[in-house]
């Protein structure tokens, strides 16, 4: 029977061409939507890599005009001590403006021998790990002892470690900044931080220690507060800092709010694509349903004949559903051929498993859609009375 149906479909290839094309395009759009959804979901499932709860971001402009680096360092050390002295504050950490969950980035690349890998670069102080409760996987975090040494100490994240060193240990290895051509010593590896929100990958990261000149340009402080910290404390913190740093344009944001905002940036395109995908699916479903129904009405004579020569109502229904499924299979074979080019050519630099999962989901979805759209017309065909159908013809 399968061969018979295949012959029937093949001999009607001209009539089936539009239906095949419709299924093929639906598959490709679904593949795009599912690739995005699987990508977001895969990222969402991974740990955040840092604790953003009860963490606040204080941003400011450095208005201290002194050119003396030591004086400037002292100025900000005093500020740090003042803030830490507040009972609600657990930790205070100075860092570059590309803090997690912000839109700022500072990119570059590092080299291990001839291997060059793109990465984000962060300038942070010794308390950054405690402020964000990052997870150390190898070695240690930056500290005062790193101020001296042949090469500046850096901490890298697990993603960068994987790309640079694979399974080998990274601690103690020397890497090179591709831009400055300066060498750096890896002293620790931390778990990747999803700095662009729940739905984005953690990416690669190198953490440089704040040096004596950094306070000229640094403008962000991460404040880890205790759960008791409330709006009144926030006002007090603002006032304390504003009194200390005149005209510094201080602002305080909560990382929980920043997370919500940055997640919107991922969710909006995802929702737009999903809505467009849904409309398309509805269109395709209606189209399929209409074409199949039309086909059945056009083939009433054939259905009547099949009943006359021994087909049951059920087998007629199954035949029509199978015909649709064979058509779907043909379009899916073509569609899959195009879809597999994405992992093969490493388009968009996504993991192959994301594309494979998206292909599988799209295939299942198309089969399900075609099956559901064929079910009712198939039943209608089964209900056709052979004598009536043969007489009409």
């Amino acid at each position: 029977m399968f061969k018979h149906l295949f012959k029937l479909i093949w001999n009607k290839k001209k009539q089936n061409f539009l239906l095949l094309t419709e299924m093929l395009f639906s598959f490709l759009v679904l593949f795009a939507v599912f690739s995005m959804l699987v990508y977001y979901y895969t990222n969402y499932k991974k740990p955040m890599g840092f604790d953003y709860n009860n963490a606040w971001l204080v941003t400011y402009n450095n208005t201290n005009k002194t050119q003396n680096t030591d004086s400037l360092n002292l100025y900000y050390q005093i500020l740090q001590k003042m803030m830490k002295a507040m009972p609600e504050v657990k930790e205070v950490s100075f860092c570059s403006d590309n803090v997690p969950l912000s839109n700022y980035t500072n990119g570059g690349s590092v080299m291990n021998g001839k291997l060059t890998v793109g990465t984000n670069k962060y300038t942070v102080d010794d308390n950054y790990d405690k402020a964000f409760n990052t997870q150390l996987l190898e070695g240690r975090w930056l500290n005062k002892s790193d101020a001296v040494g042949k090469y500046p100490a850096v901490v890298i994240n697990s993603n960068l470690k994987e790309e640079l060193f694979g399974d080998a240990t990274a601690v103690g290895k020397i890497i090179t900044d591709d831009y400055k051509k300066s060498k750096m010593r890896v002293i620790g590896v931390i778990q990747g931080l999803k700095v662009k929100g729940d739905y984005a990958p953690s990416g690669n990261a190198v953490y440089f220690r704040v040096d004596t000149g950094s306070f000229h340009w640094i403008g962000s402080i991460i404040v880890k507060v205790k759960p008791m910290a409330n709006a009144a404390f926030e006002a007090r913190l603002y006032k304390t800092m504003a009194n200390y740093m005149k005209d510094s344009n201080i602002s305080i944001e909560h990382f929980t709010n920043k997370r919500t905002q940055i997640n919107y940036m991922s969710l909006v395109p995802m929702m737009v694509m999903s809505i467009v995908g849904c409309f398309l699916i509805i269109n395709v479903a209606l189209g399929l349903f209409g074409v199949l129904w039309y086909n059945i009405n056009k083939r009433r004579g054939e259905i009547g004949l099949r009943r006359a020569v021994g087909a049951t109502g059920h087998s007629v229904s199954v035949q029509l559903i199978m015909e649709s499924m064979i058509l779907a299979t043909m379009s899916l074979i073509i569609g899959t051929f195009f879809a597999v080019q994405f992992p093969l050519l490493n388009v968009f630099n996504l993991s192959a498993s994301i594309y494979v999962m998206a292909i599988l989901l799209s295939i299942v979805f198309i089969y399900l859609l075609v099956f559901l759209c064929s079910l009712y017309p198939g039943r209608q065909a089964a209900a056709i009375y052979p004598a009536v159908a043969l007489h009409e013809e």
Binding site: R307, V309, G310, G313, P386, H391, E393
Partner: protein, 221 residues
């Protein structure tokens, strides 16, 4: 072979009730070639559909090969039609998207037969109707007479005991009609196939063993 007892068929709509067949009693013997005649709308095709189990009577009983058919399920009816009956229609009812051989194989698809067996039986049936050289053609590439011969091959491929022919020569000129009639007569004589044929053509009807006439749904001869 075929026994119809007090068959009645009524078509009902919301407003009209039409009596298509009224108290038909008919016995067809094994190996008989029976023709049914009557004016248009007298119920000839309805009667043939009822004999072919394609339609149900409103009243009465049918038995074919000593088997009562009134309590058969859809599946049993389908199997019965597949094994015992062969159909020939005025408008051939060939599937234009399938080659001649595939059209002839159609009844065998609903049996447990292998592709090889199907091909062998279908070729054999096409040889009987003189179309063995047309197996790769599509129905649209054949003349009316050839199409009807394909339909006959399809009807006999499953070696049914009974062939039901609904105006098999109705769409053909007299020469082609005679050709088809000769094939049917040969099937009846040589293979003992029971044939019930609806026709408008007196000449064709007179070539059969017996003639039944219908008028306004009732048997008049």
């Amino acid at each position: 072979m075929i026994r119809l007892q007090n068959i009645e068929k009524v078509y009902r709509t919301d407003t009209i009730e039409t009596l298509a067949l009224n108290s038909i009693n008919l016995d067809v013997a094994r190996g008989e070639f029976l023709s049914i005649m009557g004016p248009s709308g007298c119920g000839k095709s309805t009667l043939l559909n009822i004999i072919g189990l394609l339609d149900l009577p409103s009243k009465g009983a049918i038995s074919i090969s000593d088997q009562k058919t009134d309590h058969l399920s859809d599946k049993q009816l389908a199997q019965f039609r597949n094994k015992k009956l062969g159909f020939i229609f005025q408008s051939y009812h060939l599937i234009n998207d399938l080659q001649v051989l595939d059209n002839v194989e159609l009844p065998l698809l609903y049996r447990n037969t292998t592709a090889k067996e199907r091909k062998m039986l279908a070729t054999e049936a096409l040889e009987k109707v003189g179309l063995a050289n047309r197996i790769k053609h599509f129905p649209t590439q054949l003349s009316g007479g050839q199409r009807q011969r394909v339909a006959i091959a399809r009807a006999i491929v499953g070696r049914p005991e009974i062939i039901l022919a609904d105006e098999p020569t109705g769409n053909l000129d007299s020469a082609m009609g005679n050709e088809i009639m000769d094939i049917l007569i040969s099937l009846n004589r040589n293979e003992g196939t029971t044939i019930v044929m609806v026709t408008h053509d007196e000449n064709m009807a007179h070539k059969t063993h017996r003639l039944v006439r219908l008028f306004d749904g009732s048997q008049v001869q």
